[in-house]
Structures are given as structure tokens and as C-alpha cells.
């Protein structure tokens, strides 16, 4: 690869690696929240009310 292509690859992967770390943290937090909600509902907590106008 040319010098410019090597630099572009390096920068692209740096950005990609940082983005994937952030996305992983966010997705795992969302997963934990969804699972704890599901556990709470299973344990008898009331479900959140449906939004106004939502289909039954």
C-alpha cells in the first residue's frame, strides 16, 4: 500500500476500534437494563403504561 493508504487504514481502524468500544458499552448497558426490567416484571412489578394512542 502507498504511504497515504497505510495512514488511512491506521486512522480508520483507530476510529473503528474506539467506536466499537463505545457501542459495546452502550449495548451491554441496554442489555442489562432490559434484562432487569424483565426480571422485575416476572417478580410482579407493574408494567409501564402504554403510550397514549398506542394500539391495544
Amino acid at each position: 500500500m502507498t504511504r497515504g493508504q497505510r495512514r488511512a487504514h491506521g486512522v480508520a481502524w483507530l476510529v473503528l476500534a474506539l467506536g466499537l468500544v463505545l457501542a459495546s458499552v452502550h449495548a451491554l448497558a441496554a442489555r442489562r437494563a432490559a434484562w432487569s426490567d424483565a426480571e422485575a416484571i416476572r417478580d410482579g412489578a407493574p408494567r409501564a403504561p402504554a403510550p397514549v394512542g398506542a394500539a391495544p
Binding site: 500500500m1 502507498t2 504511504r3 493508504q5 497505510r6 488511512a8 487504514h9 491506521g10 480508520a12 481502524w13 483507530l14 473503528l16 476500534a17 467506536g19 466499537l20 457501542a23 459495546s24 452502550h26 449495548a27 451491554l28 448497558a29 441496554a30 442489555r31 437494563a33 432490559a34
Partner: protein, 373 residues
């Protein structure tokens, strides 16, 4: 390289690689179905349709990861170079596996509604809210990228689009891979309860990104360590003693500006060619002389040492550089001559140079540019 375009220029290596790749895909699907079917029982059990979907999807994810890992692996260790030769075949196999995954998705989740499966997928309401993301959309865009890259992976399209444009287009693979990871993170991983699933999903992208960053760091460290010094008061680069050159094995010369140069001793004569292959940017300074031509280690494209031209009937040409020998040292002018310019190649008597140097100069020094071998 071939003089005319055919669907696939099959040879024994390609056939063997494709056979192993397809057999690996088949074995993976079989093992996934068997193990997941055996482990996930009772309330955790999945239907056969979902198991198929997950098997093909995870196979495409791992295969895509493998495709992207080949480049940096070859940069880190030369033993992985043969895989670069067949990388595009693995990319096409990945695209095919991803298409089958999408076909399973359409045949299950979007089969039983009033809408056509494709329209159902495109109008899918993912109920965007806190902590959710449109993971089917990520998957669809990634699939489109994979199909486009698989379709244009042939050398014909590289010729039509031009090398730089083709390379830029194929850098979309990185965006595609990021979308695949998001597709998995916000899709299957949100519901997957199997032990170790989080680690298994994150391990592949972590490994691929680490390999690329390591490869980039190593490549730039190599350039910095081997940056060739100019002869004082001139533009000529001091590429080290000719006595340490090995016939047929190029030495990497790294000028302060511009591209790497491959300094080559062949048939007792010295020449210097552009270090970047005209095909896909392979490192010619890591190649070898085969049949009298400097041969790229990636896909075997060849260039004559005397003028940087590919042998007839091929038409590729590389810039070349003037070279001379002074006091037993090879000197390279880093200003490139037009591609295909016939070179004056100085004769070098390596045995005499070695005898003159004696044991004190057994190898190149870092300050004079090390050997790429």
C-alpha cells in the same frame, strides 16, 4: 495475473483453499446446530428456523472477521502471506453465507404477515427507544456492502474502476464490519442468554481491531527504523553495502518522502523499482525474483528489473529509480523516473565486494536501511 479476464483463474491452490473454506463453513454449521440444539433445552430451546438463522449469521460474522484479519496477520508474520492470495475468495464466500442468513430471516420473521417479506423487513418498526437501535437496518446495509464488494472483487472491476477508486470502494469493508458488529450487539446479543455469549461476540472484533492497530504500528515503526539516510550534500540515498545484498531478494529502501523502493540485485546487476505493486498495493520490497521478474508476494504480479514493466502480454508498469554503486555501497536517487523507463543497471560483483568488506560488514545497519528479507 492473466492477460484476459475469466470468471475465476482456477489453479490448484485456489481449488484447495476454496474446498477447505467451504468444508469449514459446512462443519461450523453442523457443529453449531448440534451443540446449540443440545445445550439450549426446555424454556431456552430455539426452533430449527432460529437455529439456522443464528448458525448462518454467526458463520458470516466469523468469516468476515477472518477476512479482515488476514491483511494485518500477513504484515505481522510472512507465513500468513498465502492467505492474502485467496482473501477475495473468502470474501465472496462470506457474502454468500450472509445472503443465506438474510434469506432465513425473511423466511421466518417476515413470512407470516400481510406484507411481502422484503417490504416487511424495510418497514420493520424497531420501536426505537432508550437503549435500542435499528439492528435490522444495520444488517441490511452491511449485507448490501458485502454483496457490492463481493461482486466487484474481480480484477475486471479493478481495471474498470481504476486502482485507487477500487481500493477506496473496498475500504467500505470496514464500515460494513462495524455495521455487522452493531447488528449483533443490538440484535442477537440483547436476547442471547447462553453462557459466554457476550465474550464470544466481542472477542472477534476486539481481535481484528487489535491486529490492525498492531500491524499499522509495526509498519510505521519499520519505516521509522529503516528510513534511509541521504548521502551528505546530495539527493542520493545510501542503501547500504552491496556485499550484503542477496541475489533475487529485494532490500527495502525508505526515502524521507514518497513511497518505499525495492532495491534489487538480479543477474549481477542492480536496479530499483517502486515498492508498491500496481495491482492492489502489495509490498514489492517483500517479494522475490521468479522467472527473472520481481514478483509481488500478495497475488504474484510481476515486473522486469530492467524497466519496471510487466512481461508481455501484460501492460502494467511501475516507476523506476536511478541507482549507482560508490565505494561498495548502493546509492538510490529517490526521484522516480516515469513508469517503464529502461534503467542503466550497474554491474555488481558481490563476491568481490564481500571479500573486500571482510567479516566486519556482514550485514546492513539500521542507519543504512535494513534488508526486508
Amino acid at each position: 495475473m492473466s492477460a484476459h479476464y475469466v470468471g475465476v483463474g482456477w489453479n490448484r491452490r485456489k481449488l484447495a483453499f476454496d474446498a477447505v473454506a467451504v468444508a469449514t463453513v459446512g462443519a461450523y454449521l453442523f457443529v453449531f446446530r448440534s451443540v446449540a440444539g443440545a445445550v439450549l433445552r426446555g424454556p431456552e430451546a430455539l426452533s430449527g428456523a432460529i437455529l439456522d438463522m443464528r448458525a448462518w449469521g454467526s458463520c458470516a460474522f466469523l468469516s468476515f472477521s477472518a477476512v479482515l484479519a488476514i491483511g494485518p496477520l500477513a504484515r505481522i508474520d510472512r507465513r500468513f502471506l498465502p492467505l492474502v492470495y485467496n482473501r477475495r475468495h473468502l470474501g465472496v464466500i462470506t457474502a454468500c453465507v450472509a445472503v443465506v442468513h438474510a434469506w432465513h430471516v425473511l423466511g421466518f420473521y417476515h413470512q407470516y404477515g400481510p406484507l411481502e417479506p422484503a417490504r416487511s423487513l424495510l418497514t420493520y418498526d424497531v420501536a426505537l427507544g432508550e437503549g435500542t437501535a435499528p439492528f435490522p437496518l444495520f444488517g441490511m446495509i452491511a449485507l448490501a456492502i458485502l454483496v457490492v464488494l463481493g461482486t466487484t472483487s474481480h480484477d475486471y472491476w479493478q481495471k474498470v474502476l481504476g486502482g485507487a477508486r477500487w481500493k477506496s470502494l473496498h475500504m467500505l469493508a470496514y464500515a460494513g464490519y462495524a455495521l455487522v458488529v452493531l447488528h449483533v450487539l443490538y440484535g442477537a446479543l440483547q436476547h442471547e442468554s447462553a453462557p459466554g455469549s457476550v465474550g464470544a461476540v466481542l472477542a472477534a472484533p476486539a481481535l481484528v481491531a487489535s491486529l490492525h492497530l498492531l500491524g499499522a504500528w509495526r509498519s510505521s515503526a519499520l519505516d521509522a527504523a529503516q528510513k534511509t539516510r541521504s548521502l551528505s550534500g546530495t539527493n542520493w540515498l545510501d542503501a547500504g553495502p552491496v556485499s550484503t545484498l542477496r541475489p533475487g531478494v529485494p532490500r527495502r529502501v525508505v526515502p524521507p518522502e514518497g513511497e518505499r523502493i525495492a532495491l534489487l540485485l538480479h543477474d549481477g546487476r542492480l536496479s530499483a523499482l517502486h515498492g508498491v505493486c500496481a495491482h492492489q498495493g502489495g509490498p514489492l520490497d517483500e517479494g522475490r525474483v521468479v522467472d527473472g521478474c520481481l514478483t509481488c508476494p500478495w497475488h504474484g504480479w510481476q515486473y522486469r528489473p530492467e524497466d519496471g514493466c510487466s512481461p508481455p502480454p501484460f501492460e502494467e508498469r511501475l516507476p523506476v529509480y536511478r541507482v549507482r554503486v560508490e565505494d561498495g555501497r548502493a546509492l538510490v536517487d529517490p526521484r522516480p523516473l516515469p513508469a517503464g523507463t529502461p534503467l542503466e543497471r550497474p554491474l555488481v560483483d558481490v563476491d568481490a565486494a564481500r571479500a573486500a568488506d571482510g567479516p566486519k560488514d556482514a550485514g546492513p545497519t539500521a542507519s543504512t536501511g535494513g534488508s526486508a528479507a
